[in-house]
């Protein structure tokens, strides 16, 4: 792989980010009501609104305002959240690690287990095992994640009472060391489990589908007729090739993961980035919502870029032109 390919792909991000900024600006401009309030949020005090009007030149023509908006974002200023009394970027930075812990754990679990189950199901194609596995994953595939989360709370909070159903840690918890780690982990189990079951069917379906296709190829028949063990054929010959589409999807599914995280965090009161967005909706905290939307969009675009580069590196058939 050439450095020029990587550089060219990185440069392709620029127009996307500019388009996102323009989109954000258009939303502010087109929203009904006072644009200063759209920039500052419903909780902003009157003198701050006046400052916003002057700083953004809200009485000036649209191109001038767009330029002012872009300059501000370029300085890393995403606005101020009056509901939280903190700059938006600081808030995002505080909540991001929690969301990363939740989503990356769930993504890893879902991708590994989903891929393995999907490949297994494909090797049992046409049997009851395959039918049951496919049917069960279809149900999880279509289940609304916030409802799944509430059912989990119902089952674990009402009947089993084994695990905590909300928050990051126990209220008033004073232990340290391993006890603290254990308490944190116990609070993670249900949100991570819910998010895993939300993401798993995507990888199951993709791997199963591409594995079934690969198993029909001639080189598989050749490998089989050479007398290779079925296990070797499945893992070495079939799965390796069937994994490519799955790999692509892991990279471009950051948006899906964040959507799942938004709803899961909301239900479990897990104070990450998703729950922050929910709080923003609740308070009509527009700069916060816009900041999170912009931040996640850039994350999604970067992840898909990274996937393209990894893909070109893994699959020699991809040409760099």
């Amino acid at each position: 792989m050439t450095g020029r390919y990587v550089l060219r792909r990185v440069l392709q991000i620029v127009p996307v980010v500019v388009a996102l900024v323009v989109l954000n600006f258009l939303i502010i401009t087109a929203a009904p009501g006072d644009p200063a309030r759209a920039i500052a949020g419903e909780d902003a005090p009157a003198d701050y609104l006046q400052g916003v009007r002057e700083r953004y030149g809200l009485d000036r023509p649209v191109p001038v305002r767009l330029a002012a908006y872009m300059r501000q974002l370029a300085r890393g200023d995403f606005g101020y959240s009056f509901a939280h009394n903190r700059p938006v970027l600081t808030l995002i930075g505080e909540r991001l690690p929690r969301t990363l812990l939740l989503t990356l754990t769930a993504l890893l679990l879902a991708a590994v287990v989903g891929t393995m189950l999907g490949a297994f199901s494909a090797t049992r194609f046409g049997t009851w095992t395959d039918t049951v596995l496919s049917g069960a994953t279809l149900v999880f595939y279509t289940l609304p994640v916030f409802w799944m989360a509430l059912l989990v709370i119902l089952v674990f909070g009402l009947w089993l009472r084994l695990l905590p159903t909300s928050g990051l840690m126990s209220v008033g918890f004073s232990g340290g060391g391993w006890a603290l780690v254990l308490d944190r982990l116990r609070h993670l189990v249900l949100p991570v489990g819910t998010l895993t079951f939300y993401l798993l069917p995507t990888y199951f379906r993709l791997t199963r589908g591409s594995m079934i296709q690969v198993l029909g190829e001639e080189y598989i028949t050749v490998a089989r007729s050479k007398g290779l063990a079925p296990r070797t054929v499945y893992v070495r010959h079939a799965l390796r090739n069937a994994l490519l589409p799955t790999l692509t999807v892991i990279g471009v599914s950051v948006g899906t993961v964040m959507t799942g995280s938004l709803l899961t965090e909301t239900v479990f009161s897990y104070t990450g980035l998703g729950r922050l967005m929910y709080e923003g909706v609740f308070k009509r905290d527009y700069p916060l919502m816009m900041g999170i939307f912009f931040f996640i969009s850039v994350g999604v675009v970067s992840a898909s870029l990274l996937t393209d580069i990894v893909y070109a590196w893994v699959d020699p058939r991809v040409r760099y032109d």
């Binding site: 609304p144 509430l150 709370i153 119902l154 993709l206 929910y278 969009s297 999604v300």
Partner: protein
């Protein structure tokens, strides 16, 4: 991007141009041969009937509070009452209307815009195509629920605004499918023959190319119906629903804080939503399999 759209644009089902489908009788037979597709169609029909009959079946005014708050299901109130003593079953029937409205309305708008933009993009190579394709790429990659939340929060939690926003952000997947199909169909001989015999280009596009290119888009739209209903429910669940229209997502949201004491507010509307989504997926999968003869042989 949802995980469902993800599957569609990454090649399954129908991300690649599908060979021109065998339409008509054979298609219907292949569709009806799949038990899942039949069950799904029947379920959607039941929900549609429920939405159409909705107001006539409501035993109470869905928005009228009473003293009987948080009552469990009984013969008089089959789904119990909510925290303000409103009848959950009456709200549930209103919710069916909202969900079906989004499934058909938003997905219908997305189909219309997607077909138009995709046909335009596929038939006008050059800067028109470049511009439209770029716009599709950007819309496909941004986290759509976050954008929808932002738009509905800023433009108002009104049923029709939300419908417009959901439909108006879903079309790029259809446009991309349509564009690929138009390119594939446009290269076939009968199009060249029509053009050579002097039929105007626009007429060839609308009468010959688009009808032959539509099938995979229709299969995708079935999945978008599910996505539209789910998005409405998610919006309502997050507190962005229309305050004057009870919807399944809103009943679940108000039931959330009483989930341990009043399970009926969460369980009944959620179950209906899950069933509707499952049914639409069964129809969509069945349609995709019936349209793709190679996959069709695998369908049992």
């Amino acid at each position: 991007m949802t995980r469902w759209v993800l599957a569609a644009v990454s090649g399954d089902p129908g991300g690649h141009p599908v060979p021109p489908a065998i339409r008509g009788h054979g298609l219907l037979v292949r569709f009806l041969r799949q038990p899942g597709a039949v069950v799904g169609t029947l379920l959607v029909a039941v929900f549609a009937a429920m939405a159409l009959a909705g107001p006539r079946l409501q035993p109470y005014d869905p928005l009228e509070p009473s003293d009987a708050n948080l009552l469990g299901p009984s013969r008089a109130r089959p789904m119990g009452t909510d925290e303000l003593g409103r009848d959950v079953f009456s709200q549930f029937l209103s919710g069916a209307q909202v969900s079906l409205l989004f499934a058909f309305g938003a997905a219908g708008a997305s189909l219309a815009i997607g077909v138009l933009v995709g046909a335009l993009s596929g038939s006008h190579r050059g800067w028109v195509d470049d511009l439209l394709s770029r716009a599709m790429d950007i819309f496909l990659i941004i986290p759509r629920l976050f954008l929808i939340i932002l738009l509905v929060a800023m433009f108002g939690s009104n049923l029709w605004i939300a419908l417009l926003v959901v439909g108006g952000t879903m079309w790029p997947a259809n446009a991309r499918l349509m564009r690929a199909q138009v390119l594939a169909v446009g290269a076939r001989e009968f199009v060249a023959a029509a053009l050579a015999s002097g039929v105007p280009g626009t007429r060839v596009l609308t009468r010959h190319v688009v009808p032959n290119a539509l099938d995979p888009v229709l299969a995708n739209v079935t999945l978008q119906m599910a996505y539209a209903a789910l998005t409405e429910a998610s919006l309502s669940f997050l507190g962005l629903g229309d305050p004057n229209r009870p919807s399944w997502g809103r009943i679940i949201a108000s039931g959330q804080q009483y989930v341990l004491s009043a399970w009926w507010m969460v369980v009944f509307p959620g179950l209906a939503l899950a069933l509707l989504l499952l049914a639409l997926h069964l129809v969509g999968d069945g349609l995709a399999a019936a349209l793709n003869p190679r996959m069709g042989s695998r369908v049992r």
